[in-house]
Symmetry: C2
């Protein structure tokens, strides 16, 4: 088995390499175009409040906008409620208000930007309703995934749970590296959680997407799939800056 | 000359390497322990509002706290004013309120975290007053540096100005990479500036510190100083995650 197996849609795990240092475990998930998880893992609880349930009615200050044909009405009203300047598109700040963790804390801004970068398909710095609908589905899939891996139902992911999740996605990483991720993404969760070793939903998504993105980037250089790359100074800078 | 020259206090530029692809220009600044710029470049305008001038008097809701002996009184009162929960230490959210760009916008959260990571010497997720005083001096130095490189006095740094700044710091980077930085850190500046190609003060600091940090990380692997490194999968992941 290869040292990494995550990949894009249509990606097949690289064939076994003798020189590899890392072996992946478990089948790679059926990744969508946007990256990790989705689907597959969820047991589909309804009403789990990770992304903030759309309000039941129209927000009181909404204008005469109607949802586009075929659109989820509640989701459209939720979109309008957070589109406070009524521009018809969400900025990162507005998007942050739409995305809520299980403990009702807002998503950290890095994860909001990550989502913005993934779903702002016309790359204009804002999210239209169709883009938002795609983003919402993506987060719903992650939510199911998070619930599956939160084995003790604590609402956060601990070391063993993160290790299991990443291994299931095909990334077989050392305990040292998992600890580094925990330390990093726990810290990003806000000071109130710092050092507790628990990763909230937004940080779980961020850490998994980070591992996937970096693995993909590494793999593009690792053409002989031996787990080592030769890279020059500016290639290195570009690679890191492009993936943050 | 080497392809990179920035470094820590006491660092001497590596000797000329024949195999290098990049040549640095200009002398490296007299870096402090915390990283790039400081001093040297400034022309020391007073009252330039990049970091929000400390208030002239005590904030109305302040308690009976007295500044520590030898401390800058105004800075201490400013510290107390943003320490809204009166805990005696600033969280990242409180620190963000203390750090203001030239156009009075708050620093982006990534730069606030960067500063927090640099100056939170006991690594407890908050900044005490002595740590804050060090951070403030560091930003004052960056402010002078920013003013020096903002050649057209526009209040933001454009492509040519950023290129000149990085070259002066000893980083001779391709136009492609400078453009990538502009695109990345302009974007982070908020949607209102997206795509204009102007880098605000906070993003300027963030981009320069990023280049320095990544260069230092690269150099640790580039023991023969030829501008190329051989690195394995998990070393790569660690390197990127540790430097974001």
């Amino acid at each position: 088995m290869s040292y990494y197996q995550g990949g894009n849609q249509g990606y097949r795990p690289p064939p076994q390499s003798q020189g590899t240092q890392y072996s992946g475990g478990g089948a790679p998930p059926s990744y969508g175009q946007q990256g990790p998880p989705p689907g597959a893992y969820g047991h589909g609880q309804q009403g789990y409040p990770y992304t903030g349930p759309p309000p039941q009615g129209r927000p009181p200050n909404s204008g005469p906008q109607q949802p586009p044909p075929g659109a989820d009405q509640q989701l459209f009203f939720w979109f309008q409620a957070v589109d406070t300047d009524k521009s018809g598109a969400l900025t990162t700040e507005e998007l942050q208000k739409a995305l809520i963790n299980g403990d009702w804390s807002p998503f950290n801004m890095e994860t909001v930007r990550l989502m913005m970068n993934m779903f702002d398909t016309d790359n204009n710095g804002t999210i239209t309703f169709p883009e938002f609908a795609g983003l919402w589905r993506y987060i719903e899939d992650w939510k199911k995934c998070f619930q599956t891996f939160d084995a003790d139902g604590s609402g956060t992911i601990n070391f063993a749970e993160l290790k299991n999740a990443l291994r299931t996605f095909g990334y077989n990483l050392s305990d040292n590296f998992i600890n580094l991720l925990i330390k990093k993404y726990d810290k990003y969760g806000g000071n109130k959680n710092a050092g507790k070793g628990d990763v909230t939903f937004d940080n779980f998504v961020q850490s998994c997407v980070t591992v996937k993105t970096l693995t993909d980037a590494f793999r593009r250089y690792d053409t002989d799939n031996d787990g080592w790359i030769l890279i020059n100074y500016e290639q290195f800078l570009e690679l890191v800056v492009n993936n943050r």
